[in-house]
Symmetry: D2
Subunit: 337 residues, 4 copies
């Protein structure tokens, strides 16, 4: 941590900061520049609240030096984490594709979609039984009945199931049926929920908050990991910006940034990141070209009848075309799919 004193800060003010730090167990070094005095703090800055120093007289700014995440960091583990899900490995050379409808609507809809995405080459099946909806008047999901439908789809297709869990008390129930527990974008900083899934040993698909920084995403992963569950899959799903033409802005930069900062696998959700089905194929190819370890894509047998997110869902035929094109890009970057 670096403490920048104000221009004209007095020696007494500098001394008080030094005393405060020394009493707290940190070592310090002082550098007097032409314009300002700067104090470096040696020791574990993660234990030091920057705000408490900002309040001291003569202090202008406090700048953290270390990144606040540890277990999720590449410094902590250099090699890529590989997470095994019912025989599918994510974080390895193969790009893993998860596909399925936004919401579970019926057994028929789920089976039809699951068969279709399997035939097209998808590796996992996704679908929501509990749905976070902006409006209390919108369809909220089929609940446990939906989970049973998902389990039936797994039985018939062999595809592992990814499904969302929305609150701590649902975790046990959802974990009975799901192979991967999904944390949605609005719950990325729902710490009670992060702790709850951290106490299971199920892989967790952690979606980035739509207005959360990359560092915050890694801190939320750290919450899960610090509970003992290291099987965290990070998901870039678009962030909120001033651009209005698309529902969100896919932060493609986040893919190589995350590969630099962390050993955890990174998948991309082009359906939510664009909000328009016509953009899903292009951005899926971009995600794989940028180094994503997987994709999660909304597919619906009849998007015009979907109870939610129809505008961003692909028909099975278009999903099959996407798989063909994405496969070529995967091969061009030295990966299989």
């Amino acid at each position: 941590m670096i403490i920048v004193m104000k221009m004209g800060a007095t020696q007494t003010e500098v001394d008080e900061v030094l005393t405060r730090l020394t009493n707290g167990g940190w070592k310090t070094h002082v550098s007097r520049g032409e314009e300002r005095t700067i104090i470096g703090v040696i020791g574990d800055e993660r234990k030091l609240e920057p705000g408490t120093l900002t309040q001291m007289e003569g202090v202008d700014r406090v700048m953290p030096v270390l990144r606040p995440f540890k277990l999720a960091s590449r410094d902590f583990q250099a090699e890529d984490s590989k997470i095994t899900i019912n025989g599918q490995v994510i974080g390895d050379n193969k790009v893993v594709v998860m596909a399925g409808p936004c919401a579970v609507e019926s057994l028929e809809q789920v089976l039809e979609t699951a068969m279709a995405v399997k035939a097209a080459g998808a590796h996992l099946f996704r679908g929501g039984a509990f749905k976070p909806r902006t409006s209390p008047y919108a369809f909220q999901g089929m609940g446990e009945e939906g989970l049973k439908i998902l389990a039936e789809a797994r039985r018939q297709t062999g595809l592992p199931i990814v499904t969302e869990v929305m609150s701590p008390e649902q975790v046990d129930l959802v974990a009975q049926y799901a192979d991967v527990l999904q944390i949605g974008t609005r719950n990325m900083q729902n710490y009670a929920l992060l702790n709850a899934v951290g106490q299971t040993r199920k892989p967790v698909l952690l979606k980035r908050g739509m207005m959360s920084t990359i560092e915050e995403l890694l801190m939320s992963a750290e919450y899960i990991m610090s509970n003992g569950n290291h099987k965290v899959i990070l998901c870039e799903r678009g962030i909120r910006t001033f651009e209005k033409y698309t529902r969100n802005t896919l932060d493609i930069n986040a893919v190589p940034v995350l590969k630099e900062l962390t050993h955890l696998p990174v998948v991309v959700d082009p359906s939510h990141a664009t909000g328009r089905w016509t953009l899903v194929k292009s951005t899926s190819k971009a995600a794989v070209a940028a180094g994503a370890d997987g994709l999660i894509i909304e597919v619906h047998p009849n998007p015009a009848e979907a109870v939610s997110d129809g505008e961003q869902s692909l028909k099975p035929k278009r999903f099959a075309e996407l798989m063909v094109e994405v496969r070529r890009v995967a091969e061009a970057v030295g990966r299989t799919i």
Copy 2:
């Protein structure tokens, strides 16, 4: 809802949209412009998923016309809601000030602060017993012990207590001690939590998500209200923007916008909205000048020792000065404090 067809959409494509709408029970009217055909939908558009129409051939865009919130809307209730909290009324002429530390740290700290803010004229006492923290390694709050300390502060000062609840299973516990249940910014769209507080009859202080639009804030209020609890206090606490000098950007526009759109009371949190104590006084005055019904302000007897948010906490003496200056502004806009 307005459906804009693509240039060159065929009659068959238009007819299919019309059939779809008619079968769903909506009335339609068609307008053929020089460049495009436009279809208006008559009936409750809140029941119509826009996405399903976007998927139809020949459709360019779907534009909602109605606002999606009802119970929270001024159209639904024209007069201001007044919410009574242990004798304090919020939403009336008096500007209500809630003050206290970010986190409950000890009985001494809480009592010292509560006495000081009461002496300065605050109406409610705020403090966190359960703390949502970005880092799993940071102080997470004192839990129920903290709630007991808050109750003791109420006993000694008479100030009603505002404190945060972070998960559905905590609601009963927190409601035993608190006068107002606070939903934090990261939980604004934690729907399980919104439903849980909606089932109590305690006033709820709903903080705007740092990434949420005004409309989404009102939809989250709608969640609580649709569960039967109409005592919702909205809180503007700063939004996330590209500006880096301040922790957040106080969206002062949101104050008059909310007063237009809803009958619910609106308070402002200048501490989080700026993240720097030197900016709290100016922005508190701005909030009251803009029409806020209340303020929620962080005060700590010794911010340089605070376990969290020290950089934005006021010392009691500065809070007392703030109250004097804010009172003048309140009077200038025809209100008391």
Copy 3:
């Protein structure tokens, strides 16, 4: 400037950075922490391109310590700048109000508005003769004819004129007629234009770019000042965020932040910052309460007939009401108007 080395950076890598800095004339000091080595740079960091160091092996990050502006800084000049415009002083105790239509449309429109805003207590008259418009098909302003109309309004009312200049070759022409040269939000980083107005001795009203940070605003002021023209008035006019209900988000925090960082006067434009006339009165009061030195407000005798920005223009009667209410707030914060 602080250079943070990567974990595991070698001594050779550290030495190469030190050599590079020493050769460039900077002094250095090295601090070896538990996890990382940190190098402090002593000397004028404004001459050091951070990017060049980021490229060196073993370097993780480079963090600037000093602010990049000088002439505009409070460190450089502690007391407030007062700028005199034809007898009106901005930056002093009196809150200065500039009012008038978005665009000059006719002599009648201008005179009618100028008389009305003068009667209501405005101190300067604003109006655009050259108009930056998003569309090439929209009205682009009356040009020199509009400037002559503005001059006639000054002759008849005595109000000094604020008007926009859009390109370097217009500066001489506009300066013949105007009392204050306005730089619009889209031109805040049009450096050729900043240099050109910097070479006049006319006061400049510099609008913050809708996409620009506070620091960038001050750097643009620095451009003008480094050309010798120190008469710069800063204008917060709303920034672009994800919020869609308002045209922009008024960054009210920027008012006290600028008062901390710079000695230059700060005015607020609530018309553009909200984009809706119904919000202008509330936000004008907020701006003055927060410490603004002035306001710039769009007024049109018949907004429903305005050629631009009608949705955010006040009728003269509403402007007069605004002045009454703003005056009360100004007095409550110890200022006149």
Copy 4:
């Protein structure tokens, strides 16, 4: 254009809006819904200022239906524009790569870089002689001497030159030397400059403003085109968001969106869009996978000595590696390079 009346708007208010529109030459149709009355406007809405209607009594909102750009629109021209630059064609099957240093620093630096990027397969050479810099104290470019150096590089390598023009009075000078006139991100809405380059017949590389919408980018293209110069190349170069880890956020969605909305070629600048050289290769591959027609990449023989943007410049050897990998991706999406 759709006009949504307020709930409870009177018949008189509706009639006044209708009269206003009829008098202006528009046809109208009225639709009375359960909650609100809606008025559709038939005719060229681009001539109607929405703001003027917002001011009328009883009007709640005005929603444009048509897109405001014409010449740039795919509706206007369905087939892709192909722009020829000294034998290089952009907008065709071949992905065009422009590479070179941020700033021209010397003849040696330019020749060395130009030879290297040509050898690696680049098609155009880029370099700045006039440099827009945030600080007035930073290097501002070599000016005409820099242009001469660029011309010499073209003579020796045959690579056409892309270079920035910053103000209308520079256009003639820069056009003497350059093959493509670049408009920088800060000048995307410098309308005097857009008009000036629109009056030349040189191809223009128009960079998206860092906080401009896709629609605004197309409106700026429309400015150039409406002056008679249809040779506009659009450039996505990253937008400003809340994410701090990267300098900007590459809006990869913008690539397929622009290909839908316009016939103009689209290139991506991964250097500015990330601000970190380690991210340039991944995002270049993503851009081509998403359908970009070209790339513009910063290359410097010794980035650690660059006078600007060193942190995002590639060494020639890394650029050559990038070209190899990007070529594979281009082929995977059916293109050459």
